[in-house]
């Protein structure tokens, strides 16, 4: 019962913020509403007892990605982003509808085929201990993820070097 109530509240928050995010004309408001959507998703993870995932969601998306968006928006001239208007063409609407329909069908098919509801009911309602997650993240056995972990760190290093090269002052 409590889970259901919390889920409903979170669902309303997520859907409402998501709608407002795409419907608002001001870019900074859109970023703020996206922040609320990300909070809602983190709330869902907490509801599922995935506390590590929830914390990562808040730290990475709410604390990191939104921050970068906001930074980028503030660095761009205020007038170029304020009150952007675009006419929606009919053919574009059609394509958009088609793509959404295909995605919806895919999601529903995957959902029904894998019996997620059945599995969800059978999972024990407990928190995964942090030690287990840590071992899985940097372990090298089967079902452990040290290789992707290292790949991502190399990728991030490349990003940092790229950023430095782009922002470097020209010597002349």
């Amino acid at each position: 019962m409590a889970n259901l109530v919390v889920f409903c509240i979170l669902a309303v928050v997520i859907l409402g913020s998501a709608l407002l995010c795409v419907m608002t004309k001001r870019i900074m408001r859109a970023a703020t509403f996206m922040l609320f959507v990300l909070f809602g998703v983190a709330g869902l993870y907490f509801l599922l007892d995935y506390t590590y995932l929830g914390a990562a969601q808040i730290a990475v998306y709410a604390g990191g990605v939104t921050m970068i968006y906001v930074f980028a928006i503030q660095l761009v001239s205020k007038r170029t982003l304020q009150g952007l208007v675009e006419r929606v063409k009919c053919s574009r609407m059609l394509w958009g509808g088609l793509v959404s329909l295909v995605s919806l069908v895919t999601v529903v098919m995957v959902f029904l085929k894998n019996n997620f509801i059945l599995w969800g009911g059978m999972m024990p309602d407990t928190e995964v201990p942090m030690k287990e997650i840590g071992h899985a993240l940097v372990g090298s056995d089967k079902y452990q993820y040290v290789l992707p972990f290292e790949f991502i760190s190399v990728f991030l290093l490349a990003c940092i070097i790229g950023g430095l090269v782009v922002s470097r002052k020209k010597e002349d």
């Binding site: 703020t32 506390t51 914390a55 921050m67 906001v70 930074f71």
Partner: protein
Amino acid sequence: MEHIFDFSQVTTWFHDLLTLTLGLGDFWAILIECVLVGAAVLGAYSVIAMILIFMERKVCAYFQCRIGPVRVGPWGLLQVVADVLKMLIKEIFFVDKADKLLYIVAPFLVIFGSVGAFCFLPWNRGAHILDFNVGVFLLTAISSIGVVGIFLAGWGSNNKYSVVSAMRSAVQMISYEMSLCLCLITAVILTGTMQVSGIVEAQSGPWGWLIVQGHVPALIAFVVFLIAGNAEANRGPFDMAEAESELTAGHHTEYSGMGFGFFYLAEFLNLFIIAGIAATVFLGGWAPIQIGVEAFDEVMQYIPGIVWFMGKAFLLVWLLMWIKWTFPRLRIDQILKLEWKYLMPMALINLVLMTVVVALGLYIK
């Protein structure tokens, strides 16, 4: 004998009162408890804020050889109450053509981040409000929400100086978060857990405080944590956000009444939170001093955990205030240089050092 001040006795008694005596279901019992705990947290939050504001005025006054507020109430005790009343009834007015929604949301985000971090502080044995498995990680995640609030405050004010200073203080806070997290990770390596109650529990033995257990690396981490925390809370000598004379107060220039009050509250509470986390992680939280002599240890056990916790936290608060009123304000480039060129590399090396110490078992058991 060992756990005479276990707060979980009170919470279990109250839960039993609701479920067994009054016959409420789990849902309603937990709902009532959540509401009560929430009210208690907000109450404690505002009371501690008022104590801190008064303390700041007096400490600042004595450091500058003044006597501080004395007119309102005995020893000036009611000055803060009068200020809070003034703040509460002040009109909030909006800046012309500003984004009103963001202007209103921003202080709430700041206070949300601050209250969220405040909930993680362990007050006593059995008196944790939020005690997750991923405790310390979640704590840093939630406290970083405040930065978004500062950004939005600058933007929502429709004032280019506010935008610039919001970016300045955001850059400062994001940078110093790095050292803060690295120092916390250093402590996590030694205790082997991220849960706040587990970290305190690991320090409850004789000579168990982390700063003693982890000797050199823990001491370095503690000092770096205090410096970075001072900067993270936007307090002097790093107070770029409220350099009134030079920068016209930064991101909250256009706020009045309770909008400004929230920023002010959050700033003071962030100071307390930093001191509280430092006290929890490095000085043992509610764990009393234990030196291995039975009689002495027993006497120390009779002092309740909350007294220990508050004593340590306020000692660190006083230390940070001392620093604030002693050092001159830094420029933003000096602040960033200190973090990126000195503190962060030092914290990284310290992390390696701590790993070596723990791996070779060189810490004091």
